[in-house]
Symmetry: C2
Subunit: 198 residues, 2 copies
């Protein structure tokens, strides 16, 4: 096999979920694309990996020292929504409903994977809150065992700030979800947290 | 969203089968990879797109003017296996059973997609055969309508060489395939081409 093709396939296979067959298909697609378009792609990916930074305030991905959300004077600085990762932040931003700040932990506590609280940006969160002005911290962390561990750890740390309200996003049946296919834990939760219909 | 992240996601989304969600996941994976490893990947892909060539003899992808297979003196030059694309050639090579040469058409005749015989490397195949020394041409082309059209077109062109035997790879039930799930056309073909058990 051509060395150039072999290298391209090997490199593409390093990406998660991309086996050798898919890598070959992607490589063939690159040949069908305009040369300039491929170079634009590879340069953009290289620049992303080299130049991207983490916001010094909230740990969101950022082009600058402070991310656009933290820098936005129109955002409500009294509310911080804590998420595991940047993808979660983007999902919430896409709703256009939340106007507070965020805090990206960068993962969840996982003794199994050797991720301790000190590996996450929890100290930075506490520092930000200690600076004052925060009235509510919304914990939007996944309901996995690791997520719950992280949630309890952060709740414990937040006891130092009795004036700060700590909330967790609502769990329940998603819109469009078929009850038949929803897991028992979610249904139990949704039943326990039922609301009177007005 | 960070412009660098936005660009990376947009560029990755240009690849086939990669939506925005997957593109975001891949971008996040790039951040977890070593910087050097990402640059090696992007450089390899850029070099592949820029430097790859088509073998002047068989149209296979190649780093040089003539591909390693055509350049290999140990290969049997009396047999040419005609395939649609480079991926097919690689699949056959992976069996380590075939020692002849190949010819990569670069697609199939498709009036629907505006692909005429002149868009494929059929003339080059005919030229190679006209030079003499070829005893058998194996057609390993897919059984789609376009594939069959291409097969008949090439068979017609090969009538000019009555001494060259033209064969087609066997169609039948694949090893490990459940008869229950095999399509009717394949079963019909497999029945018609049944062999006496020795």
């Amino acid at each position: 096999m051509s060395r150039l093709l072999q290298d391209a396939v090997n490199e593409l296979s390093k990406l998660p979920g991309i086996g050798r067959r898919t890598a070959l298909r992607l490589a063939m697609h690159l040949l069908k694309m305009e040369r300039e378009s491929v170079l634009q792609m590879t340069e953009s990916l290289a620049r992303f990996r080299t130049d991207i930074r983490h916001c010094a305030q909230c740990n969101n991905l950022s082009d600058e020292d402070i991310c656009p959300i933290c820098a936005d004077a129109a955002r409500d600085r009294s509310t911080i929504c804590v998420v595991e990762q940047v993808g979660d932040l983007l999902s919430i931003e896409n709703t256009h409903q939340y106007r507070g700040l965020y805090h990206v932990l960068g993962g969840v506590i996982s003794p199994m994977q050797g991720i301790a609280p000190s590996d996450l940006k929890i100290d930075l969160l506490i520092e930000n809150i200690a600076r004052g002005g925060v009235r509510e911290v919304i914990l939007a962390i996944s309901t996995s065992v690791e997520g719950e561990t992280t949630l309890f750890y952060i709740m414990n740390r937040l006891r130092a700030f009795p004036d700060v309200k700590v909330t967790s996003i609502a769990r329940g049946i998603g819109f469009g979800d078929e009850l038949e296919y929803v897991d028992e834990l979610t249904i139990t939760h949704a039943l326990a947290n039922r609301r009177e219909v007005e």
